[in-house]
């Protein structure tokens, strides 16, 4: 009996030394998410731009600084496309005489989890917070913007809708949809990312907006306004 138990005991001890037990959330997330999403910071300095070409999905190693936990748990149970034409370089396009068109039917379906698995994965992802200081340093506080002015600002003055949708019938197809951004993302993340996307992702395809802090906060307020209207 003792001899039979020995391998198990050794395995348990090794797991304890490694800092987790078999079936721990980290293992589960690595298994479920790790083949497409980066769960650790890539070596950007060595890989250069090629890092971006190796991606299959957005990095998640700072998910706890980025997403709202409630949204994550819900998304994992009922996923929906965030990038209407796919996440670069996995763009799904139809080559037509009118130009490149999004090919929604070619988008890969995101993994769908049970309620309990989604909760476990969301809790683990929310623990990944390497950029907590970028969040705490951000000065955004919720404000109000008139919907009409916010729309004008987002579309005409800032040109965000070249790539992003602020409603299902307005805006481009290459960037992530933004009509759900307020419910998906932490307000300080939106603000800090808008101020300097490169701090979060050196290989982002989001240009660094040439905006002062007040202008950034106005845009965040607009995303709040449309998010709460949806």
């Amino acid at each position: 009996m003792q001899a039979k138990c020995l391998p198990t005991l050794v395995a348990l001890c090794l797991s304890a030394i490694a800092g987790y037990s078999h079936g721990a959330p980290a293992d589960k997330v690595a298994e479920l998410c790790g083949s497409c999403h980066a769960l650790e910071r890539p070596d950007y300095e060595t890989q250069g731009r090629e890092e971006r070409f190796s991606r299959k999905a957005p990095p998640l190693y700072f998910a706890g600084n980025k997403y709202r936990r409630e949204w994550l748990a819900g998304f994992l149970q009922e996923p929906y496309p965030l990038h209407p034409s796919g996440y670069f370089p996995e763009r799904k396009l139809r080559d037509t005489p009118e130009g490149d068109m999004p090919d929604e039917n070619a988008l890969a379906a995101h993994l769908q989890l049970s309620e309990s698995d989604a909760a476990e994965v969301a809790d683990y992802l929310m623990s990944l917070q390497p950029y907590a200081e970028l969040i705490t340093q951000d000065s955004y506080s919720e404000g109000k913007v008139a919907l009409r002015m916010g729309t004008l600002d987002f579309r005409k003055f800032k040109g965000c809708d070249a790539c992003h949708q602020d409603s299902t019938d307005n805006g481009g197809f290459s960037g992530p949809i933004l009509y759900d951004a307020w419910n998906r993302l932490q307000p300080h993340y939106i603000s800090a990312f808008l101020k300097n996307p490169l701090q979060w992702d050196p290989n982002t395809i989001m240009p660094v907006p040439q905006m002062n802090e007040q202008a950034v906060h106005k845009l965040v307020d607009y995303l709040k306004a449309i998010g709460e209207t949806e």
Partner: protein, 119 residues
């Protein structure tokens, strides 16, 4: 933990100098430009059908030859407004190094004016 966090943030704050030289103009064009200017460079990118100002076609020789390399560099680096064009063309000067922008300009010249194809 705090030290690791600070180190990670510091690393990110540094400009991505690395493999600028590794990424060819064509590769950079695919990554940063095709969403609006199209996978064929014809101005019909996936965003174009919903844009209020149509992106420039980069395969039209005459139009492209009317722009100097310096102008092309400037519009990529500082955005459309810097040459009195649309603000829908963003400024990429913070994202891309000068070497990368030069590589993009060289690729634009290939697209518009290479000997085979578009003459």
């Amino acid at each position: 933990m705090k030290a690791i966090t600070v180190a990670a943030i510091s690393a990110l704050l540094s400009p991505l100098s690395h493999g600028a030289d590794d990424a060819s103009g064509e590769r950079l064009y695919t990554m940063y430009c095709t969403q609006c200017h199209g996978m064929h460079g014809n101005g019909l990118g996936v965003n174009s059908s919903r844009m209020s100002v149509q992106p420039r076609s980069h395969i039209e020789r005459e139009e492209m030859m009317a722009r100097s390399d310096e102008e092309l560099f400037k519009v990529i680096q500082q955005g459309g407004k810097s040459i009195d064009k649309s603000n829908l063309m963003p400024a990429w000067g913070d994202n891309l190094s000068e070497e990368e922008i030069s590589a993009l300009v060289a690729h634009l010249r290939q697209l518009c004016c290479k000997e085979s194809g578009n003459e």
